[in-house]
């Protein structure tokens, strides 16, 4: 193997990382128009069609880990954007070593190893979050993890192919290197690489700076999506989810089997903003077994689980369980309409005598009628803070930004 081969490997890895990070950033930035978009979810992005939801890619994109500084800018800064800049820098650095024949300069290759350690460590962290916290695998992310690993391996190989001492530094010399006898540039000193480190920081800073500079201003949307017309609750249909007497009163319209509601809950927990709310839930199951406003069971079993929440002494516990087991409950109920009842009573036996009774059905109907009285949109989740609606478009990526500002407004 020539001493140039590992550097070429880092170039290929950087190009691969840049490719995947660019598609990931594109998918994220698409959502800055506050609309729903399909995203690339393939090891060969661009060749297949995009996918709208339900995939690991979608779960990952909508998760709190896909971006940083979410309360500073709508949606936050996608982590794939600095990744793009880093891979671009790594490509440049590898090409620079090849062009200027620094592959045998231990300082240059050492810096390359250090630089590649950044995406590798980041990939390890993000991979852990993806698999352990989100239980989701994102193909585009996996592409980045593979590129990071390959690049690091290439960098280490370029540094450690063969080390010989002398001349005030290290030289890596390959036994079969055809250019071994050619005149090589002088060995660099550590201080020579400070500009390169600065340049690497510059790559990232330029990308982030421009992104922040051109990001749309969303402040005019805050609080512009309507208010509750009749927030009173004479029938006692609003369930206490997270009692917090000092918090801002908030009503969440939710369906216990709605994936978006579970995702919203995850984001709310991660943001810490839930602690500032005194949250109650309005049950709005998107299931035609009880809800006449939908033509089919969008979430089969949601009426039964909603009844269980109305029956339970701790409705939040039922909700938490339902969020954890949404897919199993929905698919089991599709096959057997009585499955949701069996599943919920197995975990919460106390609700058995209350489920399906006339009184409980009536109460769930009252819950749906509360939505009618307030002329709410037929969708979940919705959040009303102090009676003011958090815009539907702000319940996913833009939640931290919009909710924190809505809370500030309530505070004033």
């Amino acid at each position: 193997m020539t001493s140039r081969a590992p550097i070429v490997l880092t170039l290929i890895a950087a190009a691969l990382g840049l490719f995947f990070a660019s598609f990931s950033t594109f998918d994220f930035v698409q959502h800055l128009d506050r609309q729903v978009h399909g995203i690339h979810c393939s090891f060969v992005p661009g060749l297949g069609s995009t996918e709208v939801g339900g995939t690991g890619c979608h779960v990952t994109l909508m998760s709190p880990y896909s971006s940083v500084f979410r309360d500073l800018v709508w949606g936050g800064i996608p982590v794939s954007l600095p990744a793009m800049a880093v891979f671009a820098f790594l490509f440049y650095k590898g090409a620079d070593i090849l062009l200027r024949r620094r592959e045998q300069d231990p300082g240059s290759t050492g810096l390359l190893v250090l630089a590649w350690a950044l995406p590798l460590l980041t990939s390890l962290g993000m991979g852990y979050l993806s698999l352990v916290e989100l239980d989701a695998a994102c193909k585009m992310c996996i592409g980045i993890y593979v590129a990071s690993t390959l690049g690091f391996v290439g960098a280490v190989a370029s540094r450690g192919l063969r080390l010989t001492g002398g001349g005030g530094g290290w030289r890596a010399v390959a036994a079969d290197d055809p250019d071994e006898d050619a005149e090589l540039p002088p060995t660099s000193r550590p201080a020579d690489h400070i500009p390169a480190i600065g340049l690497g920081v510059g790559f990232v800073a330029a990308a982030l700076g421009l992104y922040l500079a051109v990001a749309p201003d969303y402040s005019s949307y805050i609080g512009s999506c309507g208010e509750l017309a009749k927030p009173q609750d004479p029938n006692g249909v609003l369930l206490t989810l997270a009692p917090n007497p000092g918090g801002t009163p908030a009503i969440e319209v939710l369906d216990p089997l709605c994936p978006s509601c579970a995702g919203f809950e995850t984001r709310l927990d991660a943001s810490g903003l839930g602690d500032e709310l005194d949250r109650r839930a309005l049950l709005f199951p998107l299931d035609d077994a009880c809800n006449w406003m939908v033509n089919s069971a969008v979430h089969p079993g949601a009426c039964t689980i909603s009844e269980a929440m109305l029956c339970a002494s701790d409705p939040a516990a039922v909700l938490h369980w339902a969020f954890e087991n949404q897919e199993q409950i929905r698919s089991a109920t599709t096959a057997d309409p009585g499955a949701a009842r069996s599943m919920v009573t197995a975990v919460f036996p106390d609700v058995k005598g209350c489920l399906g009774t006339a009184r409980t059905k009536k109460k769930l109907n009252k819950s749906l009628r509360w939505a009618v009285q307030n002329e709410l949109p037929v969708l979940t989740p919705q959040l009303y803070v102090g009676g003011v609606k958090l815009c539907d478009e702000d319940t996913d990526l833009g939640m931290d930004y919009a909710l924190s500002r809505l809370l500030d407004r309530m505070g004033t």
Partner: protein, 234 residues
């Protein structure tokens, strides 16, 4: 390649790569900004999603709604004050229909209605009556109004029968009030007691969901209270 040429090539490549991420991200954000403006303009055209509303089924013809509105207003349901319920002649007047035409209005409700059957000269609800009433009342779905149309069979004194049908209707309302303790009851339940004088049911209604079993004559089916949710918005 000389060292200076290599340096120049390296710097050129570095400059291009330095601009790669900001320029692409900037272009994508700019495009999203444009779409955001377009979406904002489109949003002013009206709501994009359905709004929660009470049911308004296909059978809610303009004619049916007109009759419903008259009946509900005259029977004190929509006005919100005064007494509850319409006497037979009032019902006939506000409906402005013949008895059979009045009954035809309720034919589309066959899946949503029940007929509570009483013993002769009685207004007491037995277990089967209560079970059917609760089953029908619980299945409100998106309906806005619950009609209780009580009758008597054409035997004996019309004045007694008128009073009997009133007691039958009120027995239904009392049971609902006791069982469900629903604060919305007074805004939802409309009573019409028709005695024996208006809109007697024919035996076709024997095939409907009813609490009585066994024989079903014209007299049997009219010792009853017809109960149904009306899935119409007024």
């Amino acid at each position: 390649m000389t060292a200076s040429t290599a340096l120049r090539a390296s710097l050129a490549l570095g400059a291009a790569l330095l601009l790669y991420s900001p320029s692409l991200a900037g272009a994508w954000v700019g495009s999203a900004k444009t779409r955001l403006g377009q979406a904002e303009a489109a949003a002013t055209a009206g709501p994009q999603v359905a709004i929660a509303a009470a049911a308004d089924e296909d059978y809610c013809s303009a004619h049916l709604k007109r009759v419903l509105r008259r009946v509900l207003q005259s029977c004190g349901l929509l006005s919100g004050g005064g007494g509850r319920g319409c006497q037979p002649l009032e019902a006939q007047n506000v409906a402005a229909l013949s008895g059979s035409d009045f009954n035809d209005l309720f034919v589309p409700l066959s899946d949503r209605a029940g007929i509570i059957q009483y013993d002769k000269a009685s207004h007491e609800l037995d277990h089967a009556d209560k079970a059917l009433l609760e089953q029908i009342f619980t299945d409100q779905k998106g309906a806005s109004y619950f009609f209780v149309v009580s009758r008597s069979s054409p035997e004996g004194n019309p004045v007694f029968n008128r009073d009997l049908s009133q007691r039958r209707g009120e027995a239904v309302l009392d049971h609902l009030r006791t069982t469900f303790n629903d604060p919305d009851l007074d805004r939802e339940v409309g009573l019409l007691w028709l005695g024996e004088e208006f809109a007697q049911l024919d035996t076709d209604f024997c095939g409907w969901n009813r609490s009585g079993d066994g024989t079903c004559t014209g007299k049997d089916i009219n010792r009853s209270a017809f109960v149904a949710w009306i899935d119409c918005r007024l």
